[in-house]
C-alpha cells in the first residue's frame, strides 16, 4: 500500500476535514481545515491506518498572512512504511490547538519546542513550559518579526541580554584599512597580540619589503622584547 492510497482512505473516513492529498517529490501532504480536530484526525491515523510513529512536528510562521501559523505533523507507519504530512493553520489571536500527546507520547517535547519558539499553545499538554530558552524569556525567537540579532531583555541576572555582536566586537574584521593585516581583528587588541603580530610581520621579510615600515600595529616600547 502506498502513501497516497492511505491518505485518500483517511480523507474518506473523515468527512470533509481533510483536503485532497497533494504530492511533491514523492511526499504526500494533506491540509486539515479545522485545527480543533487535529487530535481526532491523528488518533484515527494512528489507530485505523497504522501511523504509529510521529516523526516530527514543525511550525511555520506565515508572517503577514492570516492565519499566521501552520503546524506540520510528519507521520510514519512502521508496518506499512509510508510517510504522511498533515498541516493545519492556526490564527494569531488564538494561537492554540489541541495537543496530540495522548496519541503519541513523543509529541511532548515537540509541542514544548513549538510553544517555546513560536508561541503556539497546545491545549491538554500536561507540562507546557519553555524547553530550549530559559523559563521567563519574554519572546518567541522563531517568529519572523523577531530579529536575527536578538533583542535585549530586562531580566536581571541573565548573562546574555545584550544584542549579539554582529557589527563590532573583538573578533570582527573592520572594513577599511590599507591591507589585510591592519584589518585583522587582532590588530586592535593591545600588547601581547600586537607583539605576536609584529613577530609574524618580522618573519615575513618579503611582505615587509613590499609594504615598508608602516606595517602592522607598530613598535611597542618595551625593554627586552621578544625580538632579540
Amino acid at each position: 500500500m502506498d502513501a497516497i492510497t492511505l491518505a485518500k482512505q483517511l480523507k474518506a473516513n473523515l468527512e470533509n476535514l481533510l483536503s485532497e492529498p497533494t504530492e511533491f517529490r514523492g511526499e504526500v501532504s494533506m491540509v486539515l481545515s479545522d485545527p480543533e480536530r487535529v487530535a481526532d484526525v491523528c488518533a484515527a491515523a494512528k489507530n485505523e491506518f497504522g501511523f504509529d510513529y510521529l516523526v516530527d512536528i514543525s511550525s511555520l510562521d506565515n508572517y503577514g498572512e492570516d492565519p499566521r501559523f501552520t503546524i506540520v505533523y510528519h507521520l510514519y507507519g512502521h508496518e506499512h512504511g509510508c510517510y504522511l504530512r498533515l498541516k493545519t493553520d492556526v490564527g494569531e489571536e488564538r494561537a492554540e490547538l489541541p495537543s496530540v500527546i495522548d496519541v503519541w507520547k513523543t509529541a511532548d517535547w515537540h509541542e514544548r519546542e513549538i510553544y517555546d519558539m513560536m508561541g503556539v499553545r497546545f491545549r491538554g499538554h500536561p507540562d507546557l513550559r519553555r524547553i530550549l530558552m530559559w523559563e521567563g524569556y519574554p519572546y518567541f525567537p522563531l517568529r519572523k518579526d523577531f530579529p536575527l540579532a536578538g533583542k535585549p531583555t530586562d531580566l536581571p541576572e541573565v548573562a546574555f541580554s545584550e544584542r549579539a555582536p554582529q557589527a563590532g566586537g573583538p573578533f570582527v574584521t573592520v572594513a577599511g584599512g590599507k591591507d589585510t593585516i591592519s584589518r585583522e581583528p587582532r590588530v586592535r587588541i593591545p600588547e601581547t597580540d600586537a607583539l605576536e603580530m609584529n613577530a609574524r610581520v618580522e618573519r615575513r621579510a618579503d611582505v615587509k619589503d613590499a609594504h615598508g615600515k608602516g606595517l602592522g600595529p607598530g613598535p611597542i616600547e618595551k625593554e627586552g622584547g621578544r625580538h632579540e
Binding site: R25, D56, S59, H74, K105
Partner: protein, 434 residues
C-alpha cells in the same frame, strides 16, 4: 573502584533475595530496608530529596541537566532540562543561502559531522529534485563518509559509556582508532572536526591520492580494535551487571516516544532508514541491521558494536565498487563551476556570481528528508517559497527525541543506573539543543 561499581546492584539483588527465609547474614542494605518495612525507623522517613545532576556532570556528556527526585537511592521522578547549548540554528538557516548553512550542520552532532553534511545536502537536493541524479562516484563517497562517521561516533559512544560505568581502558582504546578516522577526515576534507565536506549537488573535492589505501588500512585495523574492545566488555562481569536489565524499553514504548537509531533497534524494532527508505547507493550494498531483544542498556550496546562491523563491511564494498567520473552534478546553476572556467568564460562567471550572492534558486515546496545518522533519524524539513534561502528549516534531531523518554524511563531506577542509561543512550547535546 570495583566495589563502588557493584554497590547499587548488589543492594537490589539482596533486596530480591531477602524474601527467602534461610538467609543467615543480612547485608546492611537489606537490614535497613527490613527495618523500614517494619516501621522501626519511621522517623527516618524524611521528605524526598531533590538531586540536581548536570548541566556539567561527567556522565551527562555535555550539558544535559536532570533534576532527580529521590526516595533514598531510588528515583521517583526525573525532569530532564535541555537547551543549554541552544544556538538558534533554525533561525540562522532562514537568513542564509542553502550552501552557507553547511558548516552549521557540522556543529549539530559534532561527533559525526560528515553524516550531518550528507543528510543536509540530500535534503536540499530532494527539494531541488536532483537527489536521484547525483553522479555514482559522489554517492559512493558519501556512503563511505556516513559509515566512517558512524564508526567514529559509535567508538566514542562506546568509550564514554564504558568509562561512565567504570572501564577507563576502553575509552583510551577506542580513541586510538578515532584518531585515525580524524586523520582520514583531514586528508579528505582539510579539517579534522568541522568537515563541511558536501556541497549541494556534490562534494567539495574528490578523494585525495592514496586515500583509498589509507582507508583500507584503517578498516583492517579497526576491526581488530572493535574485537578487542568487545573482549573488555561483552562478558565483563561488572559491565554486564551494570547494563543488563537496566533501562528496559519495550518496543511499543520506544515507538511511542519516537526513538530511532540503535536505541530503537535495541528494543527490537527493525527500523533503519538505510533499509526502509533507501537513499544513495545503500540498495546496492549488502549489510545487516542488528536488532536487540530485551531493550536494555546492554542490548543497545550490542547493537552499536555490530553496527560498527557492518559499517566496515559497507565501506569495504564501496571501496571495491568505487566508480570513476565526476563528483558533482553537471548543472552549473547548482554547483560552482571550476575556477579556471569562471576566470575565462562569461557564462560561468555569471553562474558563479549568482550562486554565491543569491544562492541556488530552489523551487517553492516542502520536503522532509530523514537520514540514518549514528544517533538515529536526523531529519531536515525544508519549507521553501522559492529563491536561495529556506523559508523555514526544521531540524529533527535524534538526540532531542531520544532524551524525551528519560522522564518516563528513569523513575524506579537507582542513581547509579542513570549513568548507565545515559551512556547507553549515546546522545549529543549540540544536536539536541541545536
Amino acid at each position: 573502584m570495583g566495589k563502588g561499581l557493584g554497590r547499587g546492584r548488589s543492594r537490589r539483588k539482596a533486596a530480591a533475595m531477602s524474601n527467602s527465609t534461610d538467609m543467615l547474614v543480612l547485608d546492611p542494605a537489606t537490614r535497613t530496608s527490613e527495618a523500614l518495612a517494619s516501621g522501626e525507623l519511621a522517623d527516618l522517613h524524611g521528605e524526598k530529596m531533590i538531586l540536581n545532576m548536570g548541566p556539567s556532570h561527567p556522565s551527562t556528556h555535555g550539558v544535559l541537566r536532570i533534576i532527580l527526585e529521590l526516595d533514598g537511592e531510588i528515583i521517583t521522578r526525573a525532569i530532564p532540562d535541555v537547551g543549554y547549548l541552544h544556538r538558534g540554528d533554525e533561525k540562522i538557516a532562514e537568513n542564509m543561502t542553502y550552501t552557507q548553512f553547511i558548516p552549521y550542520t557540522d556543529r549539530l552532532d559534532y561527533l559525526a559531522p560528515l553524516a550531518n553534511n550528507v543528510a543536509y545536502a540530500l535534503a536540499v537536493e530532494k527539494l531541488l529534485g536532483i537527489d536521484k541524479q547525483l553522479p555514482p562516484r559522489c554517492q559512493f563517497i558519501r556512503v563511505i563518509c556516513c559509515e566512517l562517521a558512524r564508526i567514529s561516533a559509535h567508538l566514542l559512544g562506546l568509550g564514554s559509556f564504558a568509562m561512565d560505568v567504570g572501564a577507563m581502558t576502553v575509552f583510551l582504546h577506542t580513541f586510538t582508532e578515532r584518531e585515525k578516522i580524524y586523520n582520514l577526515c583531514e586528508s579528505l576534507t582539510g579539517a579534522r572536526f568541522t568537515t563541511s565536506y558536501t556541497r549541494i549537488g556534490g562534494l567539495s573535492r574528490d578523494l585525495p591520492e592514496g586515500w583509498v589505501e589509507q582507508c583500507r588500512k584503517f578498516l583492517n585495523e579497526v576491526v581488530v580494535n572493535i574485537d578487542e574492545s568487545e573482549t573488555f566488555l561483552t562478558r565483563n562481569r561488572i559491565f554486564v551487571d551494570r547494563t543488563q536489565g537496566v533501562g528496559v524499553i519495550s518496543k511499543e514504548l520506544a515507538i511511542d516516544y519516537g526513538l530511532t537509531g540503535p536505541n530503537l533497534r535495541g528494543s527490537g524494532a527493525d527500523y533503519d532508514l538505510r533499509k526502509k527508505q533507501p537513499y544513495l547507493v545503500y540498495e546496492q550494498l549488502e549489510f545487516e541491521v542488528p536488532v536487540g531483544s530485551k531493550g536494555d542498556s546492554y542490548d543497545r550496546y550490542l547493537c552499536r558494536m555490530e553496527e560498527m562491523r557492518q559499517s566496515v563491511r559497507i565501506i569495504h564494498q564501496c571501496l571495491d565498487k568505487l566508480p570513476g567520473g565526476p563528483v558533482n552534478v553537471a548543472d552549473k546553476k547548482i554547483v560552482l563551476p571550476p575556477k579556471h572556467e569562471v576566470m575565462t568564460k562569461m557564462e560561468e562567471l555569471i553562474h558563479h556570481f549568482i550562486n554565491v550572492t543569491q544562492g541556488i534558486n530552489a523551487p517553492a515546496g516542502e520536503v522532509y528528508f530523514g537520514h540514518e545518522n549514528p544517533k538515529g533519524e536526523l531529519g531536515f524539513y525544508i519549507n521553501s517559497k522559492g529563491g536561495g534561502t529556506p523559508y523555514r528549516l526544521k531540524i529533527r534531531s535524534p538526540s532531542f527525541v531520544n532524551l524525551s523518554i528519560l522522564s518516563k524511563l528513569l523513575p524506579g531506577h537507582m542513581v547509579s543506573d542513570v549513568v548507565s542509561i545515559l551512556g547507553s543512550f549515546d546522545f549529543v547535546m549540540g544536536e539536541c539543543d541545536r
